[in-house]
Symmetry: C2
Subunit: 171 residues, 2 copies
DNA sequence: ACAGCCATGTAACTTGTTACATGATTTT
DNA sequence: AAAATCATGTAACAAGTTACATGGCTGT
């Protein structure tokens, strides 16, 4: 997925790895922490597959930078991906969901602490997202994304209520 | 994640690969399609890491089956995972979210078709999940999981409304 | 001098995923 | 006789992830 985000960032102009990391993090409003190494591994794979090309740019006296740009194939692939619908799939591949499922199915451990900790997580996430939405300089693509994340956390909190009913009160 | 689900299924009794696939699909109410090959690759890795062990059981005249059981290490690892809270992270790593983000940021393609197709996807998913909830034999661990998936799709549909406002009416 | 940021990159590993090969048994 | 189901497995690849190595420049 990062692959397509990087291709997207290269539509405007060629960029080097560090710049792509910064651009990506701005785009997602800092909600998606990214190890810089992953940018380079992903770029390497994109170049291997002919979706981007790179050249070394001298920045005398600063050290050289490797600047990546979109190839024609890369732009086609990005456009194809952008209009293609996503496979319909319910969101059950979630670590916490699976934990709760196993807690309920196996009753191996007391789930109370887990549920409490998870609520803290969700509330913390919600606070972070709300703070992001308060930034006035936020691009509206980013705002849209973060609003979606808020809706999801709210759904998670509602589900957590349901889980507590079922798991703690022995429903 | 499948890794832990398989460990969980082995708590009750030893099982062979095909049986684990069936058990898993029952547990998730058929909402998580699973390639049988993945069960075997995962079991192979679990055995390599000492979390399960296997033995060949003769089923004369039926062909032998390889039956997996939980090791002590495996049970410890499962218990550890079950009580460990999940890392707090907003749900932004979603293919459709990223597509919308790039649509809005780049305006390379018309998003109308994508949004329409995605709404069909969500409605289809919702119908599938509702049908699962109607099954009377559903284990309540499974019911809980599916209810969570419903809350998520509902959040997705609400977000889609928001996206249409912003992307289509040029918000 | 030292911290901190700018900048690139690799090796190694995990998990997910599928296409393919193989064959037996059971049901129609 | 064919189709479906039971049953096991491998090879290969995609994608995510991080720890580590390396070095230059900038500000205090």
């Amino acid at each position: 997925m990062l692959k397509y985000a990087l291709l997207g960032l290269l539509v405007d102009r060629p960029r080097h790895g560090y710049d792509l990391k910064a651009g990506f993090e701005t785009l997602v409003g800092g909600t998606w922490p990214l190890n810089i190494g992953q940018v380079y591994t992903t770029l390497g794979r994109l170049e291997r597959d002919g979706l981007v090309r790179s050249e070394l740019v001298e920045q005398d006296p600063r050290p050289d930078r490797r600047v990546y740009s979109l190839t024609e194939t890369g732009e086609k692939e990005l456009r194809r991906w952008l209009v293609d619908a996503v496979e319909p799939q319910p969101h059950v591949k979630d670590e916490f969901y699976v934990k709760v499922l196993l807690h309920r199915a196996l009753a191996l451990e007391d789930p109370a602490d887990l549920l409490w900790a998870q609520r803290q997580n969700y509330l913390e996430t919600l606070a972070t997202l709300t703070a992001v939405l308060d930034e006035p300089s936020l691009a509206d693509a980013t705002r849209l994304l973060v609003e979606g994340a808020v809706l999801h956390v709210e759904a998670d909190l509602r589900w957590l209520d349901r889980c507590e009913e079922t798991l703690l009160r022995g429903g």
